[in-house]
């Protein structure tokens, strides 16, 4: 018996390969254009216009005035400097804690799977929930942080201009260090064991082994983690917003919070679009620098 399927003849009502391909691809492309590309282009258009989303007036073309106003606004540079500080502190913290835990877990031990799973839980939560949860923990009256650190019950964190940023950074590190840990663990477990054995035969020190074997081989994955975390932290909004609302004063008012206020509280839609594009360009620029390093690390 011959079970070979007969080819579908489009003329007989079947769908050709091209039609099937189009049937799957075209809705996706249309969806992407509507959801991603159109808002991107529309916001670019609005960034060159004076317009409020709560007004019935039509947008008025103002050229690069919105960009000029944003870049000449000293508050923008204060916020940008603050965001950069937050990104640097948070990413350094996440890498140190995440990579450190990965080094500790990169060995055969009982309950390793369970410990790894438990450590990953924070990053599975919603940032807004984490923010609200930690807002309670930092509270001097009923939070657990002060008693654990032996601090008095009037030691304020989130309302103190010098400590609020640290509280936010520590919360961020708690949430996202597991992400760095996960990628580092993947990189560490991929390092061939014979390299360590060879180093041991040569009586290489722990530091020499770490510097010349572990770090170079794990660095591509570590850099990927750093790229992701840098980009994410530049956009950080919900966790900080729920914890401090950007305060005290402007001490935790990062770019995303300022942008939110400009767009949805002040309704300065044109200017906020310009702000968003400036942020986008900055994030792309910083990511490109990282990617160059990543390529170099891969080549080594």
């Amino acid at each position: 018996m011959n079970h070979t399927a007969a080819p579908i003849n489009p003329a007989q009502g079947g769908l050709s390969d091209l039609s099937i391909r189009n049937l799957f691809i075209i809705p996706t492309i249309v969806f992407l254009i509507l959801i991603n590309v159109f808002p991107l282009l529309w916001s670019l258009y609005l960034s060159f216009h004076e317009w409020r989303a709560n007004s019935a007036d039509d947008p008025v073309f103002v050229g690069i005035q919105n960009y000029r106003e944003v870049l000449n606004d000293s508050n923008f540079w204060d916020t940008f400097t603050l965001t950069a500080q937050y990104v640097v502190y948070a990413v350094i913290g996440e890498v140190m804690v995440g990579f450190g835990i990965a080094l500790l877990l990169n060995r055969s031990m009982r309950g390793k799977g369970l410990i790894t799973t438990l450590l990953l839980l924070p990053m599975m939560m919603s940032p807004a929930v984490v923010g609200l949860f930690w807002k309670l923990l930092w509270n001097p009256s009923w939070g657990i942080v002060n008693p654990l650190l032996g601090l008095p019950n009037d030691f304020a964190w989130l309302s103190d201009p010098d400590r609020a940023m640290w509280a936010v950074v520590i919360t961020d590190v708690w949430m996202w260090a597991p992400f760095v840990m996960l990628l580092s663990l993947a990189g560490l477990s991929a390092i061939p064991q014979y390299l360590y054995e060879a180093a041991e035969i040569d009586r290489a020190s722990w530091w020499f082994t770490f510097r010349n074997i572990t770090l170079p081989l794990v660095s591509p994955l570590l850099l990927i983690a750093i790229i992701f975390r840098t980009m994410e932290n530049f956009k950080q909004f919900d966790m900080i917003f729920t914890m401090t609302g950007g305060g005290p004063g402007i001490n935790t008012e990062v770019n995303a919070i300022k942008l939110y206020r400009m767009a949805f509280q002040q309704w300065d839609t044109g200017k906020s679009c310009a702000f968003a594009y400036i942020m986008l360009i900055m994030v792309i620029g910083i990511s490109n620098i990282y990617i160059k390093y990543l390529n170099k690390a891969k080549q080594r």
Binding site: N54, S141, P161, G249, W267
Partner: protein, 435 residues
């Protein structure tokens, strides 16, 4: 054939349901108790008139965004919006709200409602006698306090010895400050006072307004858009410095607080007095929520050297200008019913905070809850923030600068107010209000 018949039936049902829905009215408001109370009142209207009225709600943080997104798109998903007083300018000048000036004259709304609420919830531009909303949910800042602490003989004696006068409901802001200081005992987990300090939207500004006007300060000349010398006047400086002094007597880490935290401070027995909108006081009378419910009392804002004022909360009902004429007529009919005095009594009975002067002064209203007397007093001393379409720009500057001074402890009150005056002047110039 069978399929065609079913399709016809479905189509008929859709058309028929659409016809039924045409006799219904949708009111859009934030998700909170007063919206449920308005639904109760609306059900009474439905019983009387047969027109279904649905109160649709959305959480507070989304309320403004959703309302203006719908209005800007000329949407008709709601017929009436119970909007914030600050939105009046945007609603009126943007063409989103239907003007109600003739309706006010015809039904005497400006006479039946208290003067302050008509100005704040309905009039734009201020002083123009043009109206855009029906004062609906009156609200203002007031205070809850711990009666048991205030009436404790030991505390009373100690207070009298320290300050030289009897401990009681404060009549002046200076007395309120003394009481806050007296009860501020961090070692015992007791604190003097809870005030608004949140930087988001308008929280801190609403708290400050209570003392600002009482000390002779100002938010500017709203008729002429003049701010220099008013916003940063000596009275304003004194008021801001006073508010910062009160901030010392709040529980620790009290730099990001609004109405939720105000009630929380009372229910957890943390503070002697807590500033809050009256709309949130019903929760404090419920022993299931507030273990100190029986010992919680209420009072209206005390007086300052230049008078007695309260920051306005609450909202008014405006008609969406983009709905059909038939829907507009339904909306007008409902509002005509709503403003009648007998229905304002019903509104108060279901828990709504009426703005009707006669109802406010009636014994039935005053005795209905432990806080209604204080609410009535407040409704005659309310004042509000700017309501022009750029109010959000003004809020951003005042919130940022005052938070920087009061919570972050940076600069002086004069510097903060000078910054605000300069920012506001620039905003008014940019939008063509002043040269």
């Amino acid at each position: 054939m069978q399929i065609l018949r079913r399709l016809s039936l479905a189509l008929f049902s859709l058309v028929f349901c659409g016809a039924v829905n045409a006799q219904s009215l949708t009111i859009f408001w934030a998700e909170w108790d007063p919206a449920n109370q308005l639904q109760e009142l609306a059900d009474m209207y439905t019983e009387e008139n047969g027109v279904e009225v649905v109160v649709e709600t959305t959480p507070w943080p989304d309320f403004q965004t959703k309302t203006f997104t719908e209005l800007t798109a000329k949407g008709t998903s709601f017929d009436i919006v119970v909007g914030d007083s600050q939105w009046l300018g945007a609603g009126a000048t943007g063409g989103h709200y239907v003007e109600m000036t003739d309706f006010f004259a015809e039904h005497g709304v400006d006479k039946s409602m208290t003067e302050g609420t008509v100005t704040a919830y309905a009039e734009y531009p201020k002083g123009s006698k043009r109206y855009w909303a029906i004062p609906t949910e009156g609200d203002a800042d007031g205070w809850s306090y711990r009666k048991d602490w205030f009436e404790d003989p030991k505390e009373m004696a100690a207070f009298k010895e320290k300050y030289g006068y009897d401990l009681g409901i404060p009549e002046t802001w200076a007395q309120l400050r003394d009481i806050a200081e007296f009860f501020h005992r961090p070692d015992e987990g007791r604190y003097g006072v809870s005030i608004y300090t949140q930087k988001d939207y308008d929280a801190l500004t609403m708290g400050i307004e209570n003392v600002l006007w009482a000390f002779g300060g100002s938010l500017g000349d709203m008729a002429n858009y003049k701010v220099q010398g008013l916003v940063n006047s000596p009275g304003s400086v004194e008021a801001i410095e006073f508010y910062k002094e009160l901030y010392q007597f709040t529980p620790p880490d009290w730099g990001n607080t609004f109405f939720i935290e105000g009630n929380q401070a009372m229910t957890q027995g943390q503070v002697a007095m807590a500033m809050n909108y009256f709309a949130f006081f019903p929760a404090l009378t419920n022993p299931k929520i507030n273990p100190h419910a029986e010992n919680t009392g209420y009072f209206a804002n005390p007086a300052g050297p230049k008078g007695r004022f309260a920051a306005l909360g609450g909202q008014g009902m405006s008609i969406n200008s983009y709905i059909s004429d038939e829907q507009k007529q339904l909306a007008w009919d409902f509002l005509e019913w709503f403003v009648k005095e007998e229905n304002q009594y019903k509104w108060a009975e279901v828990g709504g905070f009426t703005c009707n002067a006669n109802v406010l002064k009636s014994d039935a209203f005053l005795e209905a809850t432990p806080y209604n007397k204080a609410f009535m007093e407040s409704m005659f001393i309310v004042k509000d923030f700017w309501a022009n379409p750029e109010y959000a720009d003004l809020l951003e500057s005042i919130q940022r600068n005052l938070h920087e001074y009061i919570v972050a402890d940076k600069g002086t009150a004069q510097e903060a107010l000078d910054n605000i005056a300069n920012d506001w002047e620039a905003i008014f110039k940019k939008h063509g209000y002043s040269k």
